[in-house]
Symmetry: C2
Amino acid sequence: TIRPPAFERLVDALSRFPSIGPKTAARIALWLLNQPPEASERIARAITEARQTIRRCRICFQYAEDELCPVCADPARDKSILCVVEEAVDVWSFERTGRYRGTYHVLGGAISPLDGIGPDELTVQALLERVADPAQGIAEVILATDPDTEGNATALFIADHLPRSRVKVSRLAHGLPVGGELAYSDDATLAEALAGRRIL
Amino acid sequence: TIRPPAFERLVDALSRFPSIGPKTAARIALWLLNQPPEASERIARAITEARQTIRRCRICFQYAEDELCPVCADPARDKSILCVVEEAVDVWSFERTGRYRGTYHVLGGAISPLDGIGPDELTVQALLERVADPAQGIAEVILATDPDTEGNATALFIADHLPRSRVKVSRLAHGLPVGGELAYSDDATLAEALAGRRIL
């Protein structure tokens, strides 16, 4: 082939990105070659740096640059109410509403037997231990998994394993589009769903 | 904001890619965080490596990893016929047809006064010197700039400055979609256009 091997390797690497096909990857690769070296270096460094500095919060498993995320590290947050979500992006959606003052727990996905994902592939055990520990003072758990099949199944599984005599367990109110993904709902809808959450 | 600063910097860097909006950039950034460190490191390295190893061929200005590109370095290529294109991707399109055995010259774009691009911003002078040098033995120049306004103007400008008593000057046959971009034409159409090129 006439294309330089380093170019082919770059297109190949960029083609792995989600929602990027080979044509877009080639367009991005050509664009990168036409950038000043500092600009392409800055992008390469941003990838390396993000991968090296971003880790999971020791308590809630959302993305953090320190041992604790900003929410868990904030003494002003209400530790008695815990919002359980599938992914860190869902935390960001709640934070954008500005209507939630409790803490979070990020599961890392939803239970999906077809994909080989059971409770052990998620942070379910850590969640159950966190809620079971009286020192944490958790009085309510909001199961804010996605309103789709896997998310509903995950919420039911967790609800079944929580000490429901001691903690209130709720699910977000409908208002979320059924079958949709929480991260893509608009802020007003999400705030409504939060306010209208119902006790399970 | 709740998002880690390193994450914001990564999304910001990825948003600069052509045809990538902020939402796609965030999706790619999250995907990168969920890759094993080797995988994201491989992508960062591919960017750095491509930028460092790929340069312009000393003779024809297409992308190369050595001083000469594979075409200019190949003694079997017909040095008497020269195909002038706007971009390196256009060379790749011709090579894919398998129907061209001559050499190339990459202009680096087209003359476009509105964008402040004149002959001096392109490799026009190097092209004229290359054709004027009798030692190069160039007998025909195919002006294969894009069949749009800038490409046509560029072809006419170059044709006016070539020693036409000594070299044949041709333009690709119509068959290329008017107003389109050469790099996106299919191989059969391009091969037809090459075969039917007309003398200017």
